[in-house]
Each structure stands twice: as structure tokens, then as C-alpha cells.
């Protein structure tokens, strides 16, 4: 019950009223909940890796059992301020597009649930979602990194140091673009 209330209220905040009978919307539900849960929404759905990536059977059963509640999501007073912040950040980071959320969710599962390093997670995600164009994969992975694994201040400083040479070189040659 607390799980369902949080999910339904999140969907209300996102303006997402899923049509439960539609395959595409069920894909969105699965991956929205996974990403929000990994960010700390406070739900406890047990996701496992299936043939199509991370998937929660219990959530799917719940969605069908309480179809009207999911199809017309309403406020339930189930989210605290921090959780509403998580949902807002999710809405600012991702578009509700199945391919993007499939790639993002799969990558996040490999890193957060399987404990893989980012390189290996990237490799496995590309393989499992090989039907998604490379540019869309890159965008989804970049967004999920920003959402779930933002760089620390130290990492940001190291990156700035590393790229400083390139940046200053590009600033010193402004005329090239106009040749």
C-alpha cells in the first residue's frame, strides 16, 4: 500500500496517466518506478533482471489489480518534500519515452543492483538494448548518470583540470570556425 500510494502520487506529479492496457505505458511504469526507487523514493519493489532487462512482476500484478487508481493518478499525501524533489528532478531529467527509460533503467540496474562498474554497465546495456540507436543510448546513459551518479566535487575538479588544455586551446583559435 505505501508503495502504491507513492508511485501513484509520483505519476500525478509527473502528469503521467498510464493506459494500463498499453504495452508501451507498462514499459514506462516499470522503468519510472525503478529509477525513482533507486534515487530514494522509498518504495521497495523487488526488481530482477529478465530477458528484457530489469523488471518487477509484483509491480505489474499490482498495476493490473488496481488499474483505475493507476489510470487516474491523484494526490495521496504519500510523498514528503524530499520525495517530491526526487520526482521533480526525474521529470526535469527524463522524457517519458520507452527507449530512453529502458536504456537508463537497465544501466542503473547494472550499476546499483549488480554492482558493476560504469564501463561494464555501459557495455552490457549496449548489448541488451542493441536495438536502440547509439545516439539515443548515449543520451539516456548521460541523463541517468546525471540523475543517479552525479560527479563529486573532487571528480568535477579533476575533469576541469584534465580538459583545461583543450578548453584554452579552443578559446585561443576562435578564427578557425570562420575560415
Amino acid at each position: 500500500m505505501p508503495n502504491r500510494d507513492k508511485v501513484i502520487e509520483s505519476f500525478h506529479q509527473l502528469g503521467f496517466a498510464p493506459r494500463v492496457g498499453e504495452f508501451e505505458d507498462r514499459m514506462l511504469i516499470q522503468k519510472c518506478v525503478l529509477l525513482l526507487q533507486l534515487k530514494g523514493l522509498g518504495t521497495t519493489y523487488p526488481y530482477r533482471l529478465h530477458i528484457r532487462g530489469p523488471y518487477c512482476e509484483e509491480l505489474n500484478l499490482e498495476v493490473f489489480a488496481h488499474r483505475p487508481e493507476f489510470e487516474a493518478p491523484a494526490l495521496r499525501g504519500a510523498l514528503d518534500e524530499a520525495e517530491r524533489g526526487i520526482v521533480a528532478e526525474f521529470g526535469e531529467t527524463f522524457e517519458l519515452r520507452p527507449n530512453q527509460l529502458e536504456v537508463a533503467g537497465t544501466y542503473a540496474f547494472f550499476v546499483s543492483c549488480d554492482g558493476l562498474d560504469h564501463l561494464e554497465a555501459h557495455r552490457r546495456t549496449r548489448k541488451l538494448k542493441s536495438f536502440v540507436p547509439a545516439a539515443q543510448q548515449a543520451l539516456a546513459i548521460s541523463r541517468v548518470k546525471r540523475f543517479l551518479y552525479p560527479p563529486s566535487e573532487e571528480e568535477t575538479r579533476e575533469m576541469k583540470d584534465e580538459f583545461a588544455l583543450w578548453q584554452s586551446a579552443s578559446l585561443r583559435s576562435p578564427g578557425r570556425d570562420h575560415e
Binding site: 498499453e22 504495452f23 514499459m27 529478465h50 530477458i51 523488471y55 512482476e57 520507452p98 536495438f131
Partner: protein, 125 residues
Amino acid sequence: MTGNRTMQCNGLDGDLLALLAESHGLKARVFSLLRLQLLRGLASLGQDGATYRELKAALEVSDGALYANLKALIAMGYLEPEKVPVENKELESYRVTPAGDGEWERVRDWLCRFCECGGDRRAEP
């Protein structure tokens, strides 16, 4: 020591014969690697199923092999195809039917008992 091993073997042989007899109730046409992978993979996804492109990416098989085996399982009444729209494309999706679910449960149960029924050389002294 030898006596113990003989007695154990007799017991396992007895179980094995019973299991082999039981296998006549299973559909031999299900027993190909790809068909078992498909049933196993789709059974846990219930009515959601999976699209053709997801199956192909996960199983890493050729279109010919995948299509032929999907078709065989559909003909046996174990899978059900469906057209589903995803991001403005119409994709082919497959899900397990109740008959397929039942058959997978029987096969899985039999395979588990078959594997537990001795024959593991690593376990021998």
C-alpha cells in the same frame, strides 16, 4: 565403502528409471535450447511478454533461428503473438499462454529432478 556406493547407485538408478518413464508425459518438441530459453524467459514476464527485438538482443541468435522457434512454439499453442505500438513503431510481441505456462512448469520441475538425480561426476569420491 564399496557396499555403500553400490546401494546408493541402486537407489539413484531406481529414481532415474522412474524419471525417464515420467518424461513420456512431456513434449519432446519443447526440448531444444532456444525453445527452453524462450519459455523460461517469457514465462516470468506474464502477460507483458517481450518484443521480438528484445528477444533477439538477449538471446543473441539469428533472425532465422528465432523466428522458426517462435513459430514452432506458437503452433504448439504455447506462445501468443501480438502487435504493440512502441514510439510510433509497430512491434511484434510474444507472451506465454496458460498452456505454455503449464508446460514450462512441468518441464522445469522434471529438469530440476533430473539434474538432482545423480550423474554428477564431480560429486564422486
